[in-house]
């Protein structure tokens, strides 16, 4: 079986800004294997958000190819992209993005609703996912009754629930204090050890240090792509 999960070849993303064309991503060649734990770094304006959108199938490239799990995403329409996001990708956001009126369980099961899973199975799997992030005793709490770290763990549970082939985390610790950030990063490390593929977008070096591959972007191009030395 091919171990490549993501393949990008001469991928570009342009934005029209008035008369100018802004090259947010300029000729990117990049691929990720399964079970990689990657940090994508770069200053603001480097194109890392655009890259995240494309990896997350929230956006499609202007030119070039993007393959996720053997499927070419470039020509897909909105609904096909929605289906791919639903099945292949688990998102974790900087601002958590839980729905405030729903309790943890209902927040976590949301992707399963869009996958057409029955209520009973949804309940079981959401409970499982919450237990995995250590919130089995908070299932009926609403986000407003939880701490920031707990909220982000609920969001991670939501990202896990569909058994995605890729977990995409956009500045997951950006709104958290240092010790909570450490807890969250521990969870990601555990998930990585359990065999998940994780891509982390961050601008914090110490957060990136948890990962094993660092990709630095600058002006829409890959500045460097290094692997962490294997520490024994």
């Amino acid at each position: 079986m091919d171990n490549t999960l993501i393949r990008m070849e001469s991928l570009c993303r342009f934005y029209e800004m008035g008369d100018q064309t802004v090259k947010a991503l300029d000729n990117i060649d990049l691929s990720f294997n399964r079970n990689e734990y990657v940090a994508i770094m770069g200053p603001s304006g480097s194109g890392k958000s655009t890259l995240m959108n494309i990896i997350g199938c929230l956006d499609t490239p202007s030119s070039g190819t993007y393959e996720l799990n053997g499927q070419s995403v470039s020509g897909m329409d909105d609904d096909e992209l929605a289906r791919i996001r639903n099945r292949e990708i688990g998102f974790v956001f900087q601002t958590f993005n839980l729905l405030p009126r729903l309790d943890c369980l209902r927040n976590v099961e949301l992707p399963l609703i869009y996958a057409g899973i029955d209520a009973e199975e949804r309940f079981d799997r959401a409970l499982d996912a919450l237990e995995r992030v250590g919130l089995g005793d908070r299932v009926n709490h609403k986000p407003s009754e939880l701490s920031g770290g707990q909220i982000q763990r609920v969001a991670i549970a939501r990202a896990l629930i569909n058994n995605p082939s890729l977990i995409l985390a956009d500045e997951p610790t950006g709104n958290l204090d240092t010790s909570t950030s450490r807890d969250i990063m521990t969870i990601f490390s555990e998930l990585s050890e359990a065999g998940n593929t994780i891509i982390l977008i961050t601008h914090e070096e110490d957060i990136a240090q948890y990962t094993r591959r660092f990709i630095r972007l600058r002006d829409g191009k890959i500045e460097s792509d290094t692997h962490a030395p294997i520490l024994e």
């Binding site: 956006d59 929605a82 289906r83 729903l102 609703i113 869009y114 057409g116 569909n162």
Partner: protein, 417 residues
């Protein structure tokens, strides 16, 4: 399919959640629909009520009774057109009856004379009633009129012929003159002549809310003449046989009357043949007018309501841009988002519609309690129409915002603050 129902069910839950979370806004949104539905149902109820009251009144006139008179009911208020016609004579009744008897194929059963005065007054001891409708007729009157007696009897043929000074009175007169005792056997004064009460009619209610059958006094024709002379207004009441078409009966009566009046061909009728249909054609334009005004008012309020709902749904879409982005990121398709917002506006409209119905039914019940005589009727059809209208309003007003929500770009929406 299961996925569709799953999503629909979840959308429904979310919609109710949203409505509960924004009570004031939801109420204001629903207000347009509430007002629209209340006006639809009240209008429909009023029209139904007019119809029902009208039917009831017409049945008082009798579906099979035709009235030959000097003037026509179909052109009320144009009395001058008939002023120069010769008065009818009560004798026509006997002559018509003779003609009917000679013709075995006649569609007519019997003709009964009636001579009336609108402005009689009656009194008993110190009690006195004005503006009484008094008329004299024959013993056959009951065959051409509805109206049961609550007490006593009608006058007999020999009393009718001899002109006995007896009378029957309507319920209002009986209670007016004899509040605490039976009227039977008492002598009342009609235009200063004594009449003995031999019967009282049951309460019948008003005819079209204008004219009361409970406010009449009936005497034998010859007795009426002794009091009023020959000055009364003459009506010949003619009952048709069963299953005879009104138009055929009218033609026959017309022929007979022209014969009695000796009108040469080419000369127009100098009498009118009236029946309940004439009222119907008088009332239809009024009813249609109410209906058109009602549809207009209702349409306006629903239109305003729909715009309000559309506006608020657009605001709600804007406010929840980030939520929409998240839902799309998690795998919601366009159709799912569309359904969610459509179901939301539909639920608001349906709740508004139901609230409107409850209000309308309460108002109807209140009116019935306060004004028992007011013709009012609530129908199942109105409920069904109201609900359909609410749902349509919901779809029409929710569609545009829902489509715009479904087309939002997920990446942009997620970043929206």
């Amino acid at each position: 399919m299961r996925r569709f129902w799953n999503e629909t069910y979840e959308s429904l839950l979310m919609a109710f959640d949203q409505i509960r979370g924004n009570k004031t806004r939801s109420f204001l949104t629903a207000l347009g629909v509430i007002i629209g539905i209340v006006s639809i149902t009240m209008m429909g109820t009023a029209i139904n009520g007019i119809d029902a009251g009208f039917e009831k009144s017409l049945s008082m006139l009798g579906y099979d009774v035709i009235y030959v008179q000097k003037g026509s009911w179909g052109s009320m208020g144009q009395w001058w057109r008939f002023r120069n016609r010769p008065d009818l004579k009560t004798e026509y009744a006997d002559q018509i009856n003779r003609i009917i008897a000679d013709n075995p194929e006649s569609g007519l059963e019997i003709a009964v004379p009636q001579m009336s005065s609108y402005r009689a007054s009656v009194s008993y001891k110190d009690r006195n009633l004005q503006q009484i409708f008094a008329f004299g007729t024959s013993a056959d009157y009951l065959r051409t009129a509805s109206g049961d007696l609550s007490e006593g009897r009608f006058f007999l043929p020999h009393e009718s012929e001899s002109g006995s000074m007896v009378c029957l009175i309507g319920d209002d007169i009986a209670t007016g003159l004899f509040p605490n005792e039976s009227a039977i056997g008492k002598d009342i004064k009609l235009k200063n002549r004594k009449f003995r009460v031999i019967g009282v009619f049951k309460k019948q209610g008003k005819f079209l809310g204008l004219f009361s059958f409970d406010n009449q006094i009936i005497t034998p024709l010859n007795a009426f003449r002794k009091v009023f002379g020959n000055s009364g207004y003459v009506t010949i009441r003619i009952k048709t046989k069963e299953k005879i078409k009104v138009a055929d009966a009218r033609e026959e009566i017309r022929g007979i009357m022209r014969r009695l009046r000796r009108l040469p061909p080419g000369k127009t009728d100098d009498f009118s043949i009236n029946e309940q249909q004439a009222f119907k054609s008088q009332l239809d334009p009024i009813k249609n007018g109410i209906a058109i005004a009602g549809i207009f008012i209702t349409g306006m309020s629903l239109f305003v309501g729909a715009i309000g709902i559309m506006n608020i749904t657009f605001v709600s879409v804007k406010e929840r841009t980030k939520e929409i982005g998240l839902r799309k990121a998690l795998g919601a398709r366009r159709r799912t988002i569309l359904m969610q917002f459509l179901i939301e506006s539909l639920s608001i409209c349906l709740l508004g519609g139901l609230t409107g119905l409850v209000i309308a039914i309460s108002i109807t019940a209140a009116i019935e309690k306060i004004l028992p005589d007011f013709p009012i009727q609530f129908s199942l059809l109105l409920i069904v129409i109201s609900l359909i209208v609410s749902v349509l309003t919901g779809i029409v007003s929710g569609l545009a915002p829902a489509i715009s929500a479904s087309r939002l770009d997920p990446a942009d929406s997620l970043r929206y603050e």
